[in-house]
Structure formats: C-alpha cells, structure tokens
Amino acid sequence: MPEDAALTLAEEPQGSGAAPAPAPSPTHETLLYIDGVSVSFDGFKALNNLSLVVEAGELRTIIGPNGAGKTTMMDVVTGKTRPDHGAVSFNGDIDLTKLDEVAIARLGIGRKFQRPTVFEKLSVWENLDLAIKDRRGVFHVLFSRLKAEQRRRIEEILEVIGLADRRHEAAGLLSHGQKQWLEIGMLLIQDPQLLLLDEPVAGMTDKETERTAELILDIARQHTVIVVEHDMAFVRDLGAKTTVLHEGSVLAEGTVEAVQNHPRVIEVYLGR
C-alpha cells in the first residue's frame, strides 16, 4: 500500500484562496483515475476540476463539508452522472464516462448509497442472492439456480454481517444499521474490484460504527475501497490515506493526522 507520503498536501499559506492540489498523475498501479472532472447543475459547480488517483488495493477515505461533491464524485464514477469535462478511467484504459450504470457495475465497481437502499420486499437472503457474483444476463438469471458453493457464500456473509438469524425476514423490517450492513454484505458478495461506500456508518450507534470499521478494514485487505464519511472517529479508526474535498475539488490529501492538522481543512470543515 502506498503509505509513502505522510503529507502530500498543497502547502499553501493560510487564506491564500483555493489553490488546488497539484494534479496527480497515474502509475501502472492505478485503478481509478479521475482527471479534471467538472459537473455543474444549473450553473452551480458540484465538481470543479476534480482530480483523484486511487491505486489498486488502496483504502481511501474522503471527507469534506456538506455539498462538497463527494456523492457527485461517486455518481460520476458509477455512470449515474455524466461529467461536463474531464476524464475518468478504470483499470488503465477503460473510459467510464462512455458507459452506463449497468456496464460499469459489470466491470466490477460496486456502490453503497448514502441512503441505505436494500430491496425492502425481498428477504435478507434474497437480497444477497441478487447481489452474488454471477453472470447478470437476463436468460442466465431466468434459468440459473443457486449452486451449493454460492449458498455457502451467502451463509458466510450472513455471519459476517450478523444477520444470520434474520435471513428470511423482509429487508424492509431491518433497523437502519442492519440495512447498512446488509448493503455492505451485498457489496461484499458482489466481490467487485472497487467498492464505493457513501457514509456507511451514518445513523449507527458507536458500537455498530466500531464493528463496521473492522468490517471495512477486513474488506480492504482484498479489495480497493473508497469510503466517504463525516464521522472523524471512524475515519481515524480506518487510518487510511484521506482526501478532503471542498467546493468540488481536492483541498488536501494525506494521512488522517496530517489532514486533521491542516489549517485550511480545520477552517472549512473540522473547525466548524
């Protein structure tokens, strides 16, 4: 993992305006490369020349004030929103801006939404069954049946997310935190190359948050993960390289400690 730089911050003097972090360049280890992406809604720039590089195998946390563009960044990566400018590439040369949500999901990019969205009418088991890594073609789905090994995998995940005894219940009946876990479980079982988690611990108790941190650290051992969170205790628990977004671009990037002590970050985000 690239724990090379303790501080790759844009070392700017305090109050010198929004000088962007130096645009990073991709290496052969790069999994996700976002370059100069801008998105505007009715003239308002939700993303403003955003550049971000995530290495394969990396765990990255992204923080930033409300409206900084964190969710919009995920929308761009997963094909929900098309950027006005800029490039987004995956795994070297796959241009994500040309693909739709379905194609991007099939490439191996999984996403957990800010508002937990499990399929409420289906049972916990069925939610996992839908997410399980398998061919997604409509005829395959019509004729396929769960293999024994897939059943075992669902059982395993049920244990991991602590929902084994609620497997037959409709997902709509779960508590908020349990829905978040189910959604993480669905991502896990999808086994994507890149996982995008938008505020996975929002609305969780401290204990649930701790467990979730362990879960994510565990997932990050075998996957590339990007986590968006506001909960700084949780971000510290993850202890990963952290990017601060502000007004649609990168304000700072580095270790959690470095970022937390950065004067501009304190000013626009943490110090509020």
């Binding site: 739709d100 949500e101 379905v102 999984g110 289906l122 019509l142 396929s144 409709a170």
Partner: protein
Amino acid sequence: MGPITSRLATMMTPKGWAALAAALLVFAVVLPVLNLAVPPGSPFHLPDFAVSLIGKYLCFAMLALALDLIWGFAGALSLGHGAFFALGGYCMGMYLMRQIGERGVYGHPTLPDFMVFLDWDELPWYWYGFDNFGFAMLMVMLVPGLLALIFGWLAFRSRISGVYFSIITQAMTFALMLAFFRNEMGFGGNNGLTDFKDILGFTIQSQQTRVGLMIASAVALALALLVCLFVVTSKLGRVLVAVRDAENRVRFLGYSVTHAKLLVFVLSAVLAGIAGALYVPQVGIINPGEFSPANSIEVAVWVAVGGRGTLLGPILGAVSVNAAESYFTGFAPDLWLFVLGGLFITVTLFLPQGILGLLRGLRDRLRGTARTPVAETAGHA
C-alpha cells in the same frame, strides 16, 4: 429430489399442482364428456352454448394472465395488450381464410373474398405461407412478440415507465386499429376476417371441433400459467420485484432493467397472441374492433379485480367479470359499463389484492391463522 423436480417444487406447492391437475381434468375431460356423451335431456348435460362461452373465457383468462406478468410483476401497465391478442387472432384468421379455398362466394382458388371484391388479382406477399398451419402458428407468436420487442426496447431503453408507458401502449393499439380498418392493408378492412370453414380439416361449426378448441384453450392456459410461474419463481422474478422496489439500485448491481422488462413484455405479448389465436376460431370472426383501446383497458380491470401480481387472481378476474358481463347484457345492457366502472373503483379502493386477496383473507380467518399478506410475492407499485 432431482434438479427438475426440485425446481417444479419451487413453482407451486404439491396442493397447487394437484389443483392444477384437477382443473385440467375438469376442462379437458369432464366437461367435454358432459357435452358430447351425456344426452341433451339429462340434467348433467352441458349445453353447447356453455362450451363456446367457457372456451372464450379461457382465452380471456390467458390474456389477463399475460397482462399480469408484465403489470403485476414488472410494474409496467400495458394498456395495449388487446393489440397483441388481436394480432395473434389475425394470424389465425389468415390461416382460416386460406383454408376456405374455392368455397368462397367468388370461388377464387387462392384469394379470400374481400380481395376479389377489391379487384386484387394476386395474394399480397405477407399472406404467403399462411395456408400452412405450422407457419401460421409460428406467426401467431412471432408477430406479437416482435412488435413487443421493438416497442418495448424503444420504451424501456428510454426509461419510459408508469403512466407514460400506459399511454403509449394505448396509442399503439389505437394506431393499429386505424390501420386495420383500411381496406388497402389487406386484412379485410372493417369487416375483418370471417366465414371460416374449417381448421386442420375439421369443420369449424361442428360441436366436436368446438369442444376440441375449448380443450386446447384449457391446455394452453395451463401451460401459460406454468411458464409464468417459472418466470416469477426464478431469480429473474426476484430481479423484477427489486425493479418495482428500487429500479435504479438494480442497475448498480449490474442487472439490465431494460432487458428484464423486455423479456417479460415479449413473453407476455406472445401469450396474449396465442390467446387471440385460440379465440378467433371459437367466435368465428376477427375484426379491427379487437384493437379498440377500450378492450385493453378492460383487460386491466380483469387483472385488478382478480388480484394483481398473483397470476391466479387475473384468471379468476377475467372469468368472473366476463360472466357478470354476459349476465348483465342479458337483461340490462345499458347498465353494464356503470357496473364495470363501479367494480373497478370498489376494487381499487377496498380490495387492493382483488378477489384472490379477499378469498385468501377469508380462508385465513376461517382457519384462525392470521398470516401476514406481506409474505406473499405480490407487491404494490
């Protein structure tokens, strides 16, 4: 259990399979015997008109079942299913026309009467092949299926759903109706296709043929029900429930919502086409009136009344609404439309799960087991 038997077990409970077998026995064996073998004087005799009526109802039931697959399970309310039914009917009608041969009024060896009347001197190319039963049956499925494929692809790809989908399907059936009214189309204009003589060599008017058609309709309905059950109990069935729940989320899992809806829409159109093909020889005519937008709306009423998203409910709905219609038009034809409208409003307001929901509720109450209906596969939009 082998893989096939275990798959069949997921489709229905053993009781369900037994009920289906019993129903088939009644419609394909008992009723035919009561009609053909029991003498007319006996109280057990089934009158001829009842055979025609039941045969017709079975076709309507299949049409309602087809609509339930796309509306009840994929959440897309097609108000153009009458068009698929009519297209299947026209394909069958074309076969039946070609069977008339020289027995037409004008005695032309190949041209149907209405073409001779229009001074045409050769068969249009799209009538080729319809003298062959196998080809005609292929077209019965292919024509509605292809129309649904093209139309559905355009609609679902553009993410047209909800009321917009209903409106454009109404427009589709309306446009087809206008087209089929035109004499130049070559489908008999507003008279449609009629005066059929025989089907597969059997005289179409004979009681044996009528009974045969009723049996065929019952078997087709049973097979259609099994196909629908197979779909809704498959993983695709769960994808469809998920689509109704949170369509966008399904896309981020990598499932193509367009493909899922399209498959179900095409399958549903094919089933509607087969129903139409079985209907036409039993009523002896197919004309552009079958494309009328009101017809398609009525099918949606059958489904809603019977219980949307239950497969069995729409079958009950089609039969009971049509039985009520036959009854009312007997003594108060003017009242029927009000009754139909009132029925629809009552069901929408008070019986969201239709007749079937009501029956299941009663059964559970009688047993004293208050099972939650949430567990049913049926969902609401």
